[in-house]
């Protein structure tokens, strides 16, 4: 936890400004959103959602260092635990579906339509 001792000013006198982290995480988040929208394989969509969550984690850590508050880094652990639970559940649901349907393509999943 190097940032812990540095305080607000010390953390940001390095070479990389806060805005760079924020732009990177916004870009990663956007890539995740695009992935969810255009990919058709349920597993890939799931990976894109994980990318979005990790982009948010990056935002939390960057702000945490910038603000000199530990909260953001603690929150990241919560998010990681939630993401892990979501993956475990998601894969189980995808497997249950595959057993009945033999496909993980979301375009084939069309029994329910309005």
């Amino acid at each position: 936890m190097r940032g812990a001792g540095c305080g607000v000013r010390g953390a940001m006198t390095g070479t990389v400004p806060l805005s760079a982290y924020l732009i990177l995480s916004a870009a990663l988040f956007a890539i995740g959103v695009i992935g969810v929208v255009i990919r058709r394989n349920a597993l890939i969509i799931f990976m894109a959602i994980e990318l979005m969550l990790n982009a948010v984690n990056l935002t939390f850590v960057a702000f945490s260092k910038f603000l000199g508050s530990m909260d953001g880094q603690i929150i990241v652990f919560f998010v990681m635990a939630v993401a892990a639970a979501e993956v475990a559940l998601g894969l189980a649901i995808i497997i249950a579906l595959y057993r009945n349907k033999e496909s993980v393509n979301v375009d084939d999943i069309n029994l329910l339509k309005g």
């Binding site: 000199g68 909260d71 929150i75 979501e86 009945n100 329910l112």
Partner: protein, 484 residues
């Protein structure tokens, strides 16, 4: 910067503990109970919810903060607990016989229902955005599983996958919103956000974008247009007892958290957030009602109706202040009773696993099952907002809150929408009493537990429709901290 462990005051958590332990006990109990004794598990669930209700009543009036302000105990949280416990009790009652036919693994089912109730309680009690997020996830993860509870049925799998993908997608927007608010204010604790905003400086772009993303996340959870696409598919595909639980439970929890975040923590930004919610409310009411007009499957019809009701509740949120929040709480009770009642009738009428899902299936039931049909008619009247039901009173309070807040157009659009909705709510009633059945179905005795759920919901719907004063009073006390 040392890590100091927060001092934990257990009082704010007291009402959650019975539900948490009930969920764990249901899971463990399932292992040790012999096959013939599984009825013990739902009874255990009901007992733990009853205990939680008693604790909530005992704590009424206390205001406390625990775990570094992350969990709040106030009347608002306690009122929400009572609503969630009501939803959960009715859902367990209507699941008891619905499950027997199809699922031997009951322990998981009831423990998941209890865990998602616990998630709802955390959402309503959240004093920290992260706690609200964790509550939301606890609620959602349990519900994804419940949607896919019929593993061998493709529709159930499909509903679970769709709900999971869109739910997780929405959660990441919600979380990104939290991250930006954290960056803008330096904290995720609602109380400190209020303190930060109190000095009256103009809100930063970061804060506004964060609030917007939070709204997107909530929009998915309450099924508001344009984030509603998953709702009809998921509600149709999930087992009927789960649909009933979802339709009432998620909406109540999401609106409790919405009130907590937008009306209690961010009222200073009301100028900024009320305009987008105004638009969402109009779109949600109108689209929900118009699409519901052409539905033939009763579960799909109720799904679109739930979208429309989310619109009415958003009207109350725009109206804001204490009248808006009071009418939201009142409406959530009415909404839970009438929806769970309607689903309980559907479940009570099922015969040997054959559910009556198309509106035409209800032909002639008015004379063959007079009491259940009368109850169904009552719930449909209530959903349509006709007197003397709780639904009517709820709508009355919402629209008068809108008028009080000078949102006259919103109230007019809402009333016009309710007029449209009368058509599709009365269609099953007309079919029940006026049409001859196409095929004779054998009369099968209904599940006693589901009849109990019907009776309780019908009593509540009439009680709060005829004598709304007491409930309104409680709701008003619960939002007293809001002021205004």
């Amino acid at each position: 910067m040392d890590l100091v462990l927060p001092r934990i005051d257990w009082a704010p958590l007291a009402a959650m503990l019975p539900v948490a332990f009930g969920g764990l006990a249901a899971l463990v109990g399932d292992l040790f109970l012999p096959a013939g004794r599984k009825r013990f598990i739902p009874a255990l669930g009901l007992a733990s919810l009853a205990l939680s209700i008693l604790v909530s009543i005992g704590l009424w009036g206390t205001v406390r903060f625990s775990v570094n302000d992350a969990v709040v105990l106030d009347r608002f949280a306690l009122f929400s607990y009572l609503v969630f416990a009501l939803v959960s009790i009715l859902s367990i009652l209507l699941s008891m016989d619905y499950l027997d036919a199809s699922a031997p693994d009951q322990g998981e089912y009831y423990s998941l229902v209890l865990f998602s109730t616990l998630g709802m309680m955390l959402m309503a009690a959240g004093g920290d955005l992260i706690v609200i997020f964790l509550g939301l996830e606890m609620l959602s993860l349990a519900l994804y599983t419940l949607c896919g509870f019929r593993k061998a049925e493709l529709r159930s799998n499909e509903a679970a996958l769709k709900y999971l993908l869109l739910g997780a997608f929405a959660s990441s927007f919600f979380l990104y919103g939290i991250a930006l608010i954290y960056g803008a204010t330096g904290t995720t604790v609602l109380r400190r956000i209020v303190a930060f905003l109190a000095d009256g400086r103009p809100p930063s772009t970061l804060l506004l974008v964060g609030t917007g993303l939070l709204l997107v996340g909530f929009g998915f959870k309450v099924a508001s247009v344009p984030f509603h696409m998953w709702t009809p598919d998921v509600y149709e595909g999930a087992p009927t007892s789960v649909t009933a639980f979802m339709i009432a439970g998620t909406k109540a929890a999401a609106f409790a958290a919405l009130v907590r975040v937008f009306l209690m923590a961010l009222p200073t930004l009301q100028v900024q957030w009320s305009a987008p919610i105004w638009v969402l409310a109009v779109l949600t009411m109108t689209l929900g009602n118009l699409v519901a007009l052409v539905q033939n499957n009763i579960k799909r019809m109720l799904a679109y109706s739930s979208i429309a009701h989310a619109g009415y509740l958003l009207v109350a949120l725009v109206a804001g202040g204490s009248p808006g929040a009071t009418s939201i709480l009142f409406y959530l009770v009415a909404y839970a009773l009438m929806n769970l009642g309607a689903f309980a009738v559907i479940i009570a009428l099922q015969a040997r696993g054959q559910e009556l899902l198309s509106v035409a299936d209800y032909a002639g039931l008015g004379f063959r099952r007079p009491v259940l049909s009368a109850c169904m008619a009552l719930f449909m009247f209530s959903l349509a907002g006709l007197p003397p039901t709780a639904g009517f009173m709820g709508k009355l309070f919402i629209f008068s809150a809108a008028v009080e807040g000078h949102y006259h157009e919103l109230a007019v659009i809402g009333v016009l929408n309710s007029v449209v909705s009368v058509y599709f709510y009365l269609r099953p009633v007309v079919v029940m009493y006026m049409n001859e059945p196409a095929i004779e179905r054998p009369l099968v005795p209904s599940s006693a537990a589901a009849i109990w759920a019907v009776a309780l919901s019908a009593l509540g719907t009439l009680q709060f429709g005829l004598f709304p004063g007491r409930l309104l009073d409680l709701a008003r006390q619960s939002v007293a901290a809001l002021g205004g």
